[in-house]
């Protein structure tokens, strides 16, 4: 096992990795910007190195500074957390060149799976079902022919896009060519690359993902499914495991296929294979996330397996020490992301000082946070204040427990608005309660809210 690791991240995930290190007896060193010099991760770590000003580009995204800090600190490995440099294959390469273990898959695997098109091609070969569509970029005429073959609605996506940008849904094929040309133009503008592809669009779908864990010896297990359908503009707000209304057989099938495909791509470490699940129950591969996910705690709470600890174990060259039979899911865990955002103003971030901070606690409630009273939610970084996780033997009890936890969580400050009350509305929503929701749930709630407000005002 490593003696020292460098943590190239901030906020709750940096603290999460520090905690794992402490429990494993590993010395932890965090890099930080000037803004974060008194952060929880800095306080908790054995050592900290300031690498730049608040702007991420000059601190947490500054690969040279991170590697210099790692070498200076005597670290054998670098944990990139999520976001920032976590899926940067060049950074992984540079770590290796500097004699550091990058805690994640190899640069080659990250390159393969980081490209949407190459990942689709690889996963199709590995036997994962894809939505009908193209594997190669194509021109407007060929695309229209394909769209006719698939049948509307179809979605046109920038090959270099992501996070909901650079995509258009076409309901009628009469509008196809115009939409295609517009997407090419947008894609050129946004990503400097006009390549687009076309696939069937699912108006109603659930976002289901499989957590995988692979080691250097070609062993791999999956840790079940998470349902992350409560999203707003592709930003997840609530996640849970197991995925409700998805049979154990289907999860086993998806999980087995995901692990096989990942191992074929040479995958090492923790990762996530994302799927869309249609109302008819069919599932389609979407993409692979080559990092620890924000929502990893729900998987931890039902399996009892510490994923960050497992990342460190595997990266140090040890076997995962688990077979698929050892992974037993128990009960239901739900996670809510408590963000410093104002739902009444389009979820605009509301940075500022936190005057009062009383986290939820007590039975079967876990809070992964990083702030305390007097701390500041910085404007330069993501607005995640804390992840609230509630576990219970069944989903109804987990929802009740989450309601209780959100009720008792106090975050207050002169400018701070949070998503707390919005999350409570989702938890109490009838569709969410019955787990019949799709990825459009949040939009629907907002439509209802607007409608309600208009009626109330009119």
């Amino acid at each position: 096992m490593f003696r020292t690791i460098l943590i190239a991240n901030r906020g709750e995930i940096a603290l999460r990795v520090v905690r794992a290190c402490r429990e494993l007896g590993i010395r932890s060193v965090v890099v930080h910007s000037t803004r974060d010099r008194d952060s929880a991760a800095v306080r908790a770590a054995d050592d900290a190195i300031q690498i730049g000003p608040p702007a991420p580009r000059r601190s947490y995204l500054n690969a040279a500074a991170v590697i210099e800090a790692a070498l200076r600190s005597g670290a054998q490995a670098v944990h990139p957390g999520y976001g920032f440099l976590s899926e940067d294959a060049d950074f992984a390469d540079a770590c290796e060149a500097a004699g550091l273990v990058f805690i994640g898959p190899s640069a080659a695997t990250m390159k393969l799976l980081g490209s949407k098109q190459e990942a689709r091609r690889h996963m199709a070969q590995a036997g994962l079902p894809l939505l009908p569509g193209t594997l190669e970029p194509l021109d407007a005429r060929a695309a229209l022919a394909l769209a006719k073959q698939i049948g509307p609605p179809v979605i046109i996506k920038a090959a270099a896009g992501g996070g909901g940008r650079g995509m258009r849904v076409v309901d009628s094929l009469d509008d196809f060519v115009e939409a295609f040309d517009a997407t090419v133009t947008t894609s050129r503008t946004l990503f400097g690359d006009g390549a687009v592809y076309v696939e069937r669009y699912l108006p109603l779908a659930r976002h289901i993902e499989i957590q995988i864990l692979c080691d250097n010896d070609g062993n791999g297990v999956h840790l079940g499914a998470r349902d992350c359908s409560v999203q707003r503009r592709h930003q997840k707000l609530i996640e849970e495991s197991p995925a409700p209304r998805l049979s154990a057989d289907v999860v086993a099938e998806m999980g087995g296929a995901a692990v096989r495909a990942a191992l074929q791509a040479g995958y090492r470490g923790a990762g996530t294979v994302e799927f869309l699940v249609a109302p008819d129950g069919r599932y389609y591969f979407m993409e692979v996330n080559c990092r620890i996910q924000v929502e990893h705690p729900v998987t931890e709470m039902v399996t009892g397996i510490d994923l960050v600890s497992a990342q460190l174990t595997v990266a140090s060259g040890e076997p995962i020490g688990l077979t698929q039979r050892d992974v037993v899911s128990r009960g239901v865990a739900i996670e809510c992301r408590l963000n410093a955002e104002d739902p009444d103003r389009g979820f605009v971030p509301s940075p500022g000082e936190i005057e009062t901070y009383v986290p939820a606690a007590g039975p079967f409630v876990r809070v992964d946070g990083h702030l305390q009273a007097g701390d500041v939610v910085a404007p330069e970084y993501d607005s995640l204040i804390a992840k609230v996780v509630a576990w219970a033997p069944d989903r109804a009890s987990a929802r009740a427990r989450m309601r209780r936890a959100l009720d008792e969580f106090v975050i207050d400050g002169p400018n701070i608005r949070t998503t707390r009350e919005f999350l409570l509305r989702v938890i109490d929503d009838t569709e969410f309660a019955q787990a019949t929701h799709h990825t459009n749930l949040v939009d629907r709630l907002f439509d209802n809210m607007s409608l309600h407000e208009n009626t109330a005002n009119g």
């Binding site: 730049g52 580009r57 500074a65 000082e353 005057e355 009273a373």
Partner: protein, 174 residues
């Protein structure tokens, strides 16, 4: 005020008063103010971070010589770092400015182990004059003064590691 001068305390009296207050308090305060003109004693036990804005004493450093940018971008994967010019920061209390490390790395006083240091305490330096080197990822980044002045103190020994923003020299502007 002339006739209050008789019972107005000397500076020693103020110091003695402050010390006596502190000595006899069961709980140590966060702030203490003693004044004699119009008489005052203010004591504040509230923790500092909530009592007043949690502003850190040292201002945000964001200075690096232009040559750093060039050197750093020679690395294939390095995101473009600073393009600022070297700035000096006033320390309100001392009237001194500081030359800070523009990046994490190792600080060198001299261009080579055998060479004399670029500058020593007491030296007067001109704007643009090199005062040291920070080495990171085998790139040597020259540290330069952009203002004229006198080196008052050197904080970092030769070959010592430095963080971003760490004070290298204290500097009395000319």
């Amino acid at each position: 005020m002339s006739d209050t001068s008789s019972n107005a305390p000397s500076i020693e009296g103020l110091v003695a008063a402050a010390l006596r207050l502190l000595a006899q308090m069961t709980k140590h305060p966060e702030r203490l103010r003693v004044q004699a003109g119009e008489h005052s004693i203010d004591v504040d036990w509230r923790p500092a971070r909530s009592a007043s804005p949690s502003a850190s004493a040292s201002p945000e450093p964001s200075m690096v010589s232009a040559s750093v940018a060039a050197a750093m971008t020679s690395s294939a994967f390095a995101p473009a770092p600073a393009t600022d010019t070297l700035r000096l920061f006033a320390d309100d209390e001392s009237g001194l400015d500081y030359i800070c490390a523009p990046m994490v790395g190792t600080f060198y006083h001299a261009p080579s182990p055998e060479a004399p240091p670029f500058v020593s305490v007491g030296d007067t330096v001109a704007s643009g004059q090199q005062v040291g080197i920070v080495e990171a990822m085998k790139l040597m980044v020259p540290i330069e003064a952009v203002a004229h002045g006198r080196i008052v103190k050197a904080f970092v020994d030769n070959g010592e590691p430095v963080e971003y923003g760490q004070h290298l020299f204290a500097f009395a502007p000319a």
